[in-house]
Amino acid sequence: MAQATQYNLDQKFDFTEAIKKSVFLVGGIGLLFLILGIAAAIFGGEAHGDDGQHAYHWTHRLFANLWINNVYFTGLAIIGVFFFAIQYAASAGWSAPLVKIMISFGHWLPIAGVLMIVTFFIASHDLFHWTHSDIYDKSDSHYDSIIDGKGAFFYWPMEKGSFPIFYLLRMVLFFGFWVFFFNKLKSLSEQEDLHGGTQYWFKLRSWSAIFLVFFAVSSSVSAWDWVMSIDTHWFSTLFGWYVFASWFVAGLAALTLVTMFLKDQGYLDMVNDNHIHDLGKYVFAFSIFWTYIWFSQFLLIYYANIPEEAVYFVERLESDVYGGFIIVNLVINFFLPFLVLMTRDSKRHSVFLKLVCTLILFGHWLDFFLMVQPGTVGQDGGLGLMEVGLLLVYASAFAFVMFTNLAKGNLIAKNHPMLEESYHHHI
């Protein structure tokens, strides 16, 4: 049924003082928590001093937290670009009014890259056991033949234990290409806004497809590099998928929350319950996907019960510090979205979606917390003021960067050839 649709296609997001204030407030609270957490770590609590080789220091835990948030928020940013690319590669019509929000997540990528590299240079010895040179020295009592066998993956073509050139090259390369693809896709989308016509859409589709191929490989390898190499002895063949799944659900939850926030502010008048419903379906479906991956990894290791594999879960499940969080992780990231978002109504009513998406964002941060902390700080870790504080600081910085850049451009891809289709999206 043809009916004239009068939507404001030139709307721009206004990053008002009031919104800025609340973003800064979150950051401020985070900073306060962080400082209190650091103070508590300096003055209170005794160290457990695990192996005697390195005495525990409070910076240990701070570095571990920096790394958790670096990886997690890099994920949110790249998933924005990834989901944008998916829409074009799949010729999706329903999401046409939302593509600008997705791509705006990518503005965090350059910052994330710098933060990650700087953190690595400052904290690599505290985070990554493989960066210690004595484990590659056959004459040293710390010689580790297993890590020595894997050393080339970090140090090639240099001597093992010197400077991890191959590792850093990958990090720079991944961020470089991700930022490149982000800029390419963004500028094509902006040119489409200016000039119109379908040729930009076709170009976007081709570039999206190329990016997706690159991302398929790089997301997996980056997961080995940045997360799995913390537990250097241990390996899991589907770890890349596991990290990707966690990133993807978190990114989708963030996208849903931002979309609903903008709608509450009076933008995106063409986005109706059906679009929100589809976002809810994505969150629901990929929460189950994450659980599937998580459980596949767990079950195989549990069943085979090979010591060098099982140690990963022994470290977590048998620990007083982390044992409970495994359950919390599964409850927040599986049972909650599965049961709450199962019905059609809950995916169409913003109250449920907002609640679940917020919890999922925290839940997947917790997932990364469980990946990073046991291998870096061990029994000295935990979920305290420092963790919550730094998470809020990063979240507020991410939101600030994303909203600032969202406010600079059009909120709607106004010449997207499938806008008309998306108005009539009905499920």
Partner: protein, 177 residues
């Protein structure tokens, strides 16, 4: 007049005309028995004022049945009926139950849905579906109106409304059974 026996059947060529006709006819106070179309017409169920299907509830309950059945079965087998130590695990290792539980949940949920759908839509093997016009499987949209349900209006009025709303043909259909 007996219910579900005597019908007026309107034939429509075009889905847009049909959707509009459904709304007009309902507005005129005529109760529509059912509309049959060769392919799904988008939004027709809303035009007909149907409530949302309750099939998902059936799916959930059958799924729950599958979950319960699978866990009970495995627990009974491994703990009581024939306890075995496999891979040094307990007799009843819960994580290894999950794949079977998942499969049975999906299986019973799907079977349950198909079964409920068939029974509620009279597609069961022993059911006798009513065919108001065989062309509804080809290229015509067919609207059936039960005369008994619209006794207050009278047949002439219904035929008139049907024709006015764009039906290309209006037929009578009577069932003996």
């Amino acid at each position: 007049m007996e219910k579900d026996k005597n019908f007026v059947v309107g034939i429509f060529d075009d889905e847009d005309v049909l959707s509009l006709a459904v709304r007009q006819i309902r507005k005129a106070g005529v109760k529509i028995h059912e509309v049959y179309s060769p392919y799904p017409v988008h939004g027709l169920d809303e035009d007909l004022g149907y409530r949302r299907s309750r099939l998902p509830i059936a799916a959930f309950l059958f799924g729950l049945l599958g979950t319960t059945l699978a866990l009970t079965m495995q627990f009974y087998m491994m703990q009581f009926d024939w306890p075995m130590i496999i891979g040094g695990k307990n007799f009843a290792p819960i994580p290894t139950f999950i794949p079977v539980t998942f499969e049975l949940t999906v299986l019973l949920s799907a079977f349950g849905m198909v079964g409920v759908f068939m029974i509620t839509n009279n597609l069961k093997p022993w059911g006798q579906p009513r065919i108001f016009d065989i062309r509804s499987t080809d290229d015509k949209h067919v609207m059936a109106i039960d005369l008994a349900a619209n006794a207050s209006l009278g047949k002439e009025k219904i035929v008139e409304v049907l024709k006015a709303s764009g039906a290309t043909e209006v037929n009578n259909k009577n069932f003996e059974d």
